[in-house]
């Protein structure tokens, strides 16, 4: 029974903080992962969605009779069918719940008006996907066109038919002001002021795996199962329960492997309801897999914000005040993410700088385009681009080195915690937790070789204009309110960890296993992490806002603490020692030379304990990006010669994963700078809903990217000391890259204020600048 006087030699060495390879990779790389489309069921039906091809119109008639006659077609559902169970449900708002947004929610299926190209009008269910698609073509859909508004300007000018929700009287959902200090006075007294207009283009996440769902209705037990869950399964369960008139205990959402989330996957979308509705109506399992064309028009868009930004400075470069006006194009409806994208753009406008006087006006506007939601670094990518461009412009006006100006204004360790005020109307005051922001800038400048390379700004080498740009950022993570976990020591001596976090492919199976393994002193191989399904825990919150490690990981630590109490109690009985003398360490429980391994203790089990981590205080990671470009003035093509992102994440549970996240985020961000763009015409038609025309970065586009992860200032908000690490790699990419391109082209008189920086656009800017520089004839 006693295992001897020495501690077992197979004790695990701590793995938290070490770059262990991802546990999920063996499965994913050998093709043995299981994604939702890998699931099949006897009697399975396939659904496809008939979508509006018109941006704005009144539905006159839907005639599905020919479709219903096609062999293999089981049903065609429209709003009329959904309404037979009561009113057509609306998509609830989960985040940033401005009360004004409620009137702009989306029905799960268009009732009598369509408001964007891609809006669901009918659901066809058939015995195969191909038959369902054949049937789609047989449905006669008659829509009377209404005036479509495809820009915020058009939307705000519209009257009558051009107002998307006539009851609201206007396409302006709301306008609010957030402020700190007294920007008006600061601007009035400032020796230097500059105002510029900027914009970021509509684009979004394009995960390799599109969305997919499989709904099963167990009529006997009155229970609904929905596979394909991701991100926020517990919230979606609540939404579905309400919409379907079911109890929370009558629905479960199940998570499979997920091929990328980036914010857009796993929200509650119209299809989540429709597929469940169909499965219950038909009493048969129904699968829907989004195709790539649908993805571009159905899944949340993001990033389309116009900004007018003013900066007030002292002559020495001290930033005295910042005032901004943001106009956000939200698309046709306010979906689950509410106003969070523009609200976060507003919050992060001042960024990591010591600015006391801030005034931000935010307008949220609906247009006849696909609704907007969060995309990795929501609002930050945009805000950092606006502000960091303006800082470079101000530094040039003031005759200062822009990075000296940045360093001069960055928040330092001595300023911490930094009171960041209440720039988000629906959130409490917040403060930046820890950090020494100039340190990451200094490191970043060293990495890019700023001192030795800055003479290259605007110089021509082999016909290419060189430029180096820098941008600094602060980035929040770890949204509350809670996360839950349960750890079970199974009778075979392994640990099962269930956690409310979801995996979207980011590696939390590994990071969570590392945390649990160390908490109980077991080797990593003994830990199995289950996540994301509502069957695991009574409550969970999921994965967004770089929260899974901070919240889920801390909940696991709490569960481990609770489990240790059980283990100590059990060991005390076995060893005949009082609880107080026993500690759990090195893979067992013991005191001095008396020890029992967990493997052995487990045979009395299983032992299980729950844990919760509740916290509404956010973490703030911070850092700097730098980019060295060479621009071909004849083609407008930009080569990235070097890109480096430096971020202090507080504590990296797995540096390998953090590094991978940073590299991926940089490339994704460069896509947003140069390639990604959802193009609409003035009638609200989406013009590039395919991967042939919507350009994503590929393996050969940006080979020169580097990331440096620092662990200088842990966060005091959670026991791990961790800060968010999944988004810092993207948030300042546009700022740094645009500054680099602007620096390169400055001698030509080109100013960069709008994304994307496509070759034709840069070429046009260069041509225009050259034409303007030529003397008039």
């Amino acid at each position: 029974m006693l295992t001897g006087i020495t501690f077992p030699t197979d004790a695990a060495t701590p793995v938290t903080g070490t770059p262990v390879e991802r546990l999920e990779d063996a499965r994913l790389l050998t093709g043995t992962g299981c994604f939702v489309d890998d699931l099949t069921r006897p009697d399975l039906l396939h659904a496809v969605v008939l979508r509006s091809s018109m941006a704005h119109g009144r539905i006159v008639a839907i005639d599905a009779s020919a479709a219903l006659e096609l062999d293999g077609v089981v049903a065609v559902f429209t709003a009329a069918d959904v309404a037979s169970d009561g009113a057509v449900p609306l998509i609830p708002i989960r985040l940033a719940p401005f009360p004004e947004s409620q009137a702009f929610r989306q029905p799960v299926i268009a009732v009598d008006t369509v408001r964007y190209v891609g809006e669901p009008v009918a659901l066809v269910v058939a015995t195969s996907r191909a038959i369902a698609e054949d049937a789609l073509e047989l449905i006669e859909l008659d829509i009377d066109a209404l005036e479509a508004v495809a820009s915020t300007d058009a939307a705000l000018a519209a009257e009558g038919d051009g107002v998307l929700f006539p009851g609201t009287g206007s396409n302006l959902v709301l306008r609010y002001t957030a402020q700190m200090g007294d920007a008006d006075t600061a601007f009035a007294n400032a020796p230097y002021v500059r105002t510029e207009r900027f914009s970021t283009q509509r684009h979004s996440a394009v995960p390799m795996e599109t969305r997919g769902l499989l709904a099963e209705w167990d009529a006997e037990h009155g229970h609904l199962f929905l596979s394909g869950a991701a991100k926020v399964p517990y919230f979606n369960r609540r939404a579905l329960a309400e919409a379907l008139g079911l109890g929370m205990d009558e629905i479960d959402l199940l998570e499979q492997d997920v091929g990328g989330g980036f914010g857009v996957r796993g929200e509650y979308y119209p299809e989540d309801f429709l597929v469940c509705f169909a499965a219950r109506r038909l009493g048969r399992p129904v699968k829907w897999i989004e195709d790539r064309r649908e993805h571009f028009m159905a899944t949340n868009h993001s990033r389309e914000i116009a900004c007018e930004l003013s900066i007030a400075c002292a002559r020495d470069g001290t930033i005295l005040a910042l005032a901004g006006r943001l106009d956000a194009d939200m698309g046709a409806y306010i979906r689950t993410n509410g106003g969070v994208v523009p609200a976060k753009a507003g919050q992060f406008l001042p960024g990591p700088y010591r600015i006391r006087d801030i005034h931000v006006d935010v307008s949220i506007v609906v247009t006849n385009k696909t609704p907007v939601g969060t995309y990795r670094g929501p609002g930050r990518f945009e805000a950092n681009f606006f502000r960091e461009r303006l800082i470079d412009m101000a530094a040039a006006d003031l005759g200062l080195d822009p990075n000296v100006m940045r360093a001069h204004n960055l928040i330092t360790a001595a300023d911490m915690p930094w009171d960041a005020g209440k720039l988000v109307p629906y959130e409490a005051e917040t403060s930046f937790d820890t950090g020494d922001y100039p340190v990451t800038l200094t490191r970043c400048l060293e990495e890019i070789g700023w001192e030795k390379n800055k003479h290259l700004q605007g110089t021509v080498i082999d016909g290419l204009y060189h430029g180096i740009g820098v941008a600094c950022f602060v980035e929040s993570g770890g949204a509350g309110p809670r996360e839950n976990a349960r750890i079970t020591l199974e009778t075979d001596g392994t640990l099962t960890v269930a956690v409310g976090s979801s995996s979207v492919g980011q590696g939390i199976e590994t990071a969570h296993a590392q945390i649990a393994a160390d908490a109980l002193g077991l080797p990593l191989g003994k830990v199995r992490v289950l996540h994301g399904s509502t069957t695991l825990l009574h409550e969970g919150f999921g994965t967004y806002h770089s929260r899974a490690v901070i919240m889920g990981g801390s909940a696991i630590l709490d569960a481990a603490t609770n489990l240790k109490e059980h283990l100590v109690a059990a060991a005390a009985k076995r060893l005949g020692l009082p609880n107080t003398r026993l500690v759990v360490e090195n893979g067992g429980v013991g005191s001095g030379d008396r020890f029992i391994s967990l493997a052995e203790l487990a045979t009395d089990g299983p032992f299980s304990a729950n844990g919760t981590f509740a916290n509404t205080t956010r973490t703030y990671s911070y850092g700097a990006h730098a980019c060295h470009v060479a621009v071909n003035p004849q083609t407008g093509a930009v080569k990235i010669l070097d890109f480096v992102a430096v971020e202090d994440v507080g504590r990296a549970i797995n540096p390998l994963i953090v590094h991978g996240q940073a590299i991926g985020a940089i490339v994704q961000g460069l896509g947003g700078v140069f390639l990604d763009h959802l193009v609409y015409d003035s009638e609200g038609q989406l013009l590039n809903a395919s991967l042939a025309d919507y350009l994503l970065p590929t393996a050969t586009d940006f080979p020169n990217v580097r990331a440096v992860t620092l662990e200088l200032h842990p966060s005091p908000t959670n026991p791990l000391g961790a800060k968010g690490a999944g988004e810092g790699g993207i948030v300042a990419v546009a700022g740094a890259t645009a500054n680099a391109v602007a620096a390169a082209l400055a001698p030509l008189g080109v100013t960069i204020t709008d994304l994307p920086l496509t070759p034709p656009r840069l070429w046009q800017l260069i041509s225009d600048a050259r034409a303007a520089a030529e003397p008039e004839h």
Binding site: R129, A130, E133, D134, E137, D291, R292, R293, V460, D462, G463, L464, N632, P633, Q634, T635, G636, A637, L675, V679, L687, N688, S690, A692, D693, L695, P697, T698, T700, D701, T758, P759, P760, W763, Q764, S767
Partner: protein, 293 residues
């Protein structure tokens, strides 16, 4: 993104394939590498009743080089051209250009006949066919016919091929060994269709004077086309930097670019000139131009 319902038949010979086209009476389509046709079907932009798969017809997979001609069978794939040592020796322009066509997965399937029949204005092979005096050999219900590529490749996605006809080969006149050539194109990403590209070749006499100048454009026009003004600017002259600049200006004057979501006509026009400079300097053996100038 599933294909519409259709019938699939695999033909074992050209005559069988032609018979199937005749039977299909305009509602049959040839399937070669499928790299363009399958997406068209998946997007349901076309819904033929019958697909005639010619992939099994071995005769169409040959590269034949004689004293007078270089002939590429309709089923010769991009990868076959890219790796052909015979072509590298006898018509090196062809393998060199292949690196610009799509990605290797697509080069493993895409075919000469498919590309010519699809007739994308930005595709490389139609540009080579038109610029290098290619002849397209077709077989149909009324037998075999030959036509200069320029007469078949007359519009965007609109080759002049009868419903009961198929392409069996593309034939080029054999090159002189000392022929000079260049190719340049600009695409948004590696492997994307070109926004503008220039194919050029000429011979040089003992005095270094350019003769028999061929300059063609892809991507910046609604179909691949030769640029006689640019050719004339070079013909009979020594291809030095000045002369090449004149030819590039002629290229910009001559092209009639379309406008789409990716680029303005003005951009494509300028780009065609920049690509012409690169291609012609390569052909002339001048160092790659700093700043393309």
């Amino acid at each position: 993104m599933k294909l519409p319902p259709l019938q699939y038949v695999r033909a074992s010979s050209v005559s069988e394939a032609v018979d199937l086209l005749v039977q299909g009476a305009g509602d049959a389509r040839i399937l070669a590498g499928g790299q363009s046709l399958i997406p068209v079907l998946a997007f349901r932009l076309a819904a033929p009743a019958v697909l005639v798969d010619i992939g099994g017809i071995a005769d169409l997979k040959r590269i034949d080089i004689t004293d007078e001609t270089v002939t590429l069978g309709a089923l010769v794939r991009w990868v076959d051209i890219e790796r052909s040592t015979a072509l590298k020796a006898h018509m090196p322009l062809l393998p060199a250009v292949m690196a610009h066509v799509a990605h290797y997965q697509i080069r493993n399937r895409g075919t000469v006949g498919g590309s010519l029949a699809h007739c994308d204005p930005a595709a490389e092979m139609p540009g080579l066919a038109v610029t290098c005096d290619g002849t397209i050999i077709l077989e149909g219900a009324s037998g075999r016919r030959e036509a200069p590529a320029v007469e078949v490749l007359t519009g965007a996605l609109a080759a002049e091929i009868a419903e009961d006809e198929m392409i069996v080969a593309l034939r080029f006149p054999r090159w002189r060994p000392e022929r000079r050539w260049g190719f340049a194109e600009f695409a948004r990403r590696q492997g994307d269709f070109a926004m503008a590209g220039i194919v050029a070749h000429f011979d040089q006499d003992a005095d270094g004077v350019a003769r028999d100048v061929h300059i063609g454009v892809i991507g910046a026009t609604d179909r691949p086309t030769r640029l006689p003004g640019a050719e004339a600017a070079l013909e009979g002259r020594i291809p030095d930097a000045m002369t090449i600049r004149d030819a590039c200006r002629a290229v910009q004057d001559e092209v009639e670019p379309p406008e789409d979501i990716h680029a303005s006509a003005a951009y494509r026009r300028a780009l065609a000139g920049v690509m012409a400079n690169q291609a012609l300097r390569q052909a002339a053996g001048l160092p790659a131009a700093a700043n393309g100038q």
